[in-house]
Amino acid sequence: MSETGLPLPPRRPLPSDARERMRRRITSAEPPVRERPNRRGPLVAAAAVVLLVAGGAVGAQLTRDSTPAVAPPPPAATSPDWMNVQLGYGKTTDADLATCGLAGIKSTHTFSMRGRRIVVGDADDAGRRRFCEITYTRVSVSLPDSSPIPVGDGAVSILWRSPSGVVVGQAPRGADAMSVDPESEPDTLDDVPRVEKLIPSDLFLLRSVAPVENVEFHVQEPPSYVTARVVKSELPGPEWSTTRDAYPSGSTAGDLPANQAARCLDLWQTDGPPYAGNVPKSFDDPADWRPTVRVGQDSAEGLLVLREEGGDTAYCTLRNGVATDLRWAVQQADVEKMFRVLGGLESPGTGVTILAGTTTSHVGELVFTSPGQAPVRAEVADGTFAVRLTGPPTTTPKHPRDFTVDVNDPDGMILYRGPAG
């Protein structure tokens, strides 16, 4: 019991290896110092950002009608810290228009931000625009007959919200700056970084997780401010678009492990937590990842393990065969440990526990047993494993050490028998 009256554990000295491991994580996550623009007053002027265009990092000044100020470097110079990229900008390619099925329209620009590209089409004779969002596994196109939704006093209107949550709107005519009331975004520290940006043709882009955003525009002539309250729940949802799957594999089978892996990587790219010290560098390119083992494909609780050439491992959770979320782990099994449980899921009230992790090449088989239950052989492949265990429903969380594991070599000789954690 601590002095606070709560049953808290005593504080412990920080082991030097943990201290240095965390230091390395922070170090490896952050590129050489690049100053980020600070908020200045109620409005933030269009600021210098580092852009990612067509696979290259481009330093550029994005203003209302600017073009990139610096030519893209060769593709090899792709920024390793793409998660820090707020908004990229470039001319729309014919390939993007074809992907979107908008080959017949003129396009203004393509904007890229975490995990997606947004194609902004020119206004047609009736003043209507088409928009398209391309992610790693999906293509969504705005419906041709959708109507703008006015917000505020009508000086601002929302033209589209993409399925991944990017809002495209019409700013007041002549707006030269845009900001979002920080009070409307209470969770800036722990969620996807917000993007709010004026783009050419008096349009703006807004990407945030906040359910309500108070947006403010500065208009140059006459000098004035225009505010608008954007309530996400009052905007149309997926019905604003037609969406199709477009997996890199070329197959449309949603239950294909490669497609599930791609969908999980897609979800993480577009909606995952901010780039932090514990995210493998190899997440820069989702194509580097491959599925290895899968359990619970046809159940409410499943897991797909992903591996990358460098040995990093990630876990894609499945619900009834649909990829829902991605988690990662950077530790690998070593000779001493032979296997390492790195992640798992538990479904409260069902008695289902899924454990997953990595193995060394010495391991051929892992058999897990929980008290009173039949042994279950783990799926083992490519230096990874996953096992789905069932037992009586419990109210307390399980720990890997609650299970016993037999570790056998490829010839069936036992290497270890004992707690799994």
Partner: protein, 200 residues
């Protein structure tokens, strides 16, 4: 960014001089905002934040992730934040709390029926086995469950004062509240927690 180990770590000898971080207050280092200064802040507070992160998550491996993320967030936002007291610890604890709650929200958003199985702790030694015995871990999880059900205003105060064991004055400063308000929130929360934990 390079987090430069200071001479306290024995890995690198810090050259004394105008660039030295020795003897500087947290506020001075924070204002300087360079890599050496931030490295010193990391060395001063990593252990406290790591322990606090464990108390917020009941998992040493998650605590490591959370500590890394906390310092990374602090580094990125160092120009946006002015320390209200000399110590950076209240701010770092606040960031850790935000991040810990963010992970919980993310879990509920995508995995309403699933929860993470606590995995092997990254740090392994005898003390680890003793301190993270199943009973202790379950007791801590029970506390965290009860804290998570507190109103947000009380939860923030509890995380800083009861779990983080910060002085009320420092917690009040970082929360932007009067000390009396923090005391009353903690007092109310303590009663609720006592009731919740007695039910278990």
């Amino acid at each position: 960014m390079r987090l430069i180990p200071t001479s306290r770590q024995g890995a690198t000898t810090l050259v004394e001089g105008s660039d030295s971080t020795a003897g500087r207050t947290d506020a001075e280092l924070w204002t300087r905002g360079d890599e050496a200064a931030f490295g010193e802040l990391y060395d001063r507070h990593a252990e406290a934040v790591w322990n606090h992160a464990y108390r917020l998550t009941a998992s040493w491996s998650t605590a490591e992730d959370l500590t890394s993320s906390t310092f990374l967030t602090a580094w990125r936002r160092r120009h946006d934040v002015t320390l209200v007291k000399d110590s950076a610890l209240p701010w770092l604890y606040t960031v850790a709390g935000h991040l810990a709650r963010g992970e919980f929200r993310r879990t509920t958003r995508f995995q309403r029926l699933l929860r993470r199985v606590p995995v092997d702790d990254t740090v392994r030694d005898h003390a680890d086995q003793v301190a993270t015995s199943l009973d202790g871990e379950h007791r801590l999880r029970a506390v965290l469950d009860a804290v998570a059900r507190l109103p947000r205003s009380e939860r923030e105060a509890v995380e800083l004062v009861l779990i983080g064991e910060l002085p009320v004055g420092e917690a009040a400063a970082v929360l932007g509240l009067a000390e009396a308000s923090v005391r009353s929130r903690v007092s109310r929360a303590r009663s609720r927690l006592r009731g919740a934990l007695e039910e278990k």
